[in-house]
């Protein structure tokens, strides 16, 4: 019976991939592979392309992980090295609680709390001091790419920091003590010994964080502004693969539009599985080398 269950699970995964491909097939036949780099989404004229959503997904996830990685590593360092022992448990719990916040609640906060603050204070400030950078030019808006990046960062930090903290805790003591014994400062020991030792694990954690960001549909749909074009400014609305599907899938007006949305879903699936697969490869290789 257990064998049946195992077979069922494998069959389930195969079925999911097969179903998404099958449902996207008409669009694949119609548009071909050029759908991926075509930047248009015109339901009236029946022209569709995934490019603006791929760009939105990649840009929002990239900057989210850019922000989240140093913050997560720093938090992990704080929790393992710097914080007094009595503080470590509670703070670690608090960071884990951040992971427990459902994405729809973060989106709610993003719309009703972060959005107005972005529009009235943060974005004008950024515009004033960094407006010469194209990404900080333009009209401040409560929803848009910046809001999406920040919400995604908040989502990723708990994941990456929890894994990184585990990794730091498992570094063999003699490795650290050896470096300290050679007269390095604590930071130098960390930079020269702990981080390189944990590097594969940290990379895997970062990749998993990217996977989380790429797949997030709901919170991004709430705060991204549902843009229709690729904009240079972070203040402007944007859109991602997952958010577009969440917004439009049920209401596709023509069969071609519905099929195109499923094509988007296929691209999203491939992207997510690729990212996830890379993380697995890094983990396996690190396990084989005995560092995990």
């Amino acid at each position: 019976m257990t064998t049946l269950a195992a077979v069922f699970v494998v069959a389930l995964v195969v079925m999911i991939v097969y179903e998404v491909v099958r449902q996207a097939w008409p669009a694949i036949q119609h548009f071909g592979i050029s759908f991926v780099w075509t930047d248009v989404w015109n339901p009236i004229k029946g022209e569709f392309g995934a490019w603006q959503f791929i760009v939105g997904t990649v840009v929002s996830s990239f900057f989210a992980i850019l922000l989240a990685t140093p913050i997560s590593i720093a938090i992990a360092l704080f929790l393992t090295e710097l914080a007094p022992k009595w503080l470590r448990g509670p703070v670690a719990t608090l960071v884990e609680l951040l992971a427990a916040i459902p994405s729809v609640v973060l989106g709610l906060w993003g719309i009703l709390v972060l959005g107005p603050v972005l529009a009235s204070d943060i974005e004008p400030w950024l515009n004033k001091w960094f407006g010469w950078l194209q990404v900080f030019s333009g009209q401040p808006s409560p929803v848009g790419m910046l809001n999406a990046i920040l919400i995604l960062t908040i989502m990723i930090v708990p994941i990456v920091s929890a894994i990184t903290r585990e990794l730091f805790l498992h570094v063999p003591k003699d490795l650290k003590e050896g470096a300290l014994g050679l007269g390095t400062t604590r930071w130098e020991a960390i930079r020269g010994v702990v981080i390189p030792y944990c590097a594969p694990g940290i990379v895997a954690a970062v990749i998993l964080g990217i996977g989380r960001a790429v797949g997030e549909a709901i919170a991004v749909a709430q705060v991204s502004g549902n843009g229709t074009t690729i904009q240079r400014s972070f203040f402007a609305p944007t859109n991602t693969l997952a958010a577009k599907i969440a917004n439009s899938y049920q209401g596709a007006a023509t069969k071609l539009e519905g099929d195109s949305l499923l094509y988007l879903a296929l691209i999203l699936l491939i992207l997510a599985l690729f990212v996830n697969g890379m993380a697995q490869v890094v983990i396996r290789r690190a396990e084989k080398r005995g560092v995990l």
């Binding site: 257990t2 064998t3 269950a5 195992a6 699970v9 494998v10 389930l12 995964v13 079925m15 999911i16 179903e19 998404v20 720093a74 938090i75 360092l77 704080f78 929790l79 710097l82 914080a83 703070v91 608090l94 960071v95 609680l97 427990a100 916040i101 459902p102 994405s103 729809v104 609640v105 973060l106 709610l108 906060w109 009703l112 709390v113 908040i154 930090v157 920091s161 050679l182 007269g183 390095t184 930071w187 130098e188 996977g211 790429v214 797949g215 997030e216 549909a217 709901i218 709430q222 997952a242 599907i245 969440a246 899938y249 049920q250 499923l262 699936l269 997510a272 996830n276 697969g277 697995q280």
Partner: protein
Amino acid sequence: MATAPASLTSSKGLRRRKRTEKILAVLATLSAVLAVSVLVLVVWAVLRRGAAAFSWDFFTKSQAVFGQSGGGIAPAIVGTIVLIFWATLMAVPLGVLVAIYVSEFSSPRSARLIRTTLDILNGVPAIVIGIFVFGLLVVGHGQSGFYGSIALAIMMIPLISRSTTEVLALVPRSLREASLGLGVPRWRTVVSIVLPAAIGGIITGTILAVARIAGETAPLLFTSSIAANSVSWNASQPLNSLPLTIYTYSESPSPSDHAQAWAAALLLMLFVLILSVTARSLFAWRQRRTGATGG
């Protein structure tokens, strides 16, 4: 202890290094403070705005007619309970059985295959799972709470499997060998000896999986979103749910909808918090009891 090499003890270099260390320590502390502050900000917003909207009506009434304020989210509360119930009922047996297969009966190669498959399943975005269930089941038949639960269950299976395998691995081999040595058949050993020893861990894993999917919106978007505005325990019809209610109300212009969204968010977070704390204390309790049995 060996003396430090000369180049490292020049006082200027040492002072610089110590300063770098201090700066970085400050940065690391600031980051932790930042993370905790954001958490506090979000939780405080939910707490303050949500608690303000708590009322007897909120918990017992259905959504108010358009344009009127008041009303409640009773259908969503009941719906979430029912959806989680069926999802757990479907996911736990499957997840546990797969874990048993991987840890007790399979060859190392198939174990690795199943584990990879579960990792893949875990990596599928929730929205894609929603589309999968929609295309397979909803089209032609209509939405239903069961289909929503199926989508949620698909997300729970990898989580339950993983925690169950870990806990099964903790059961000492001596237990299994003793039972087999006494002539007890393999499957009975698993059912009567191994499983009961691991039940604590399985429950913990299940609770954590429930906490994870309780707030999921995307799987329900296409499977259980067009629901009647009344309390219903019947899963064969589409059901309201807390996450979808929050989603809809969050984009509404009406302040009374916003207030209800915050309150629903507070309810959801309290639920997830209670589950996480329960799971953690169960885990700690098990750790304390752990002697020979490992759970």
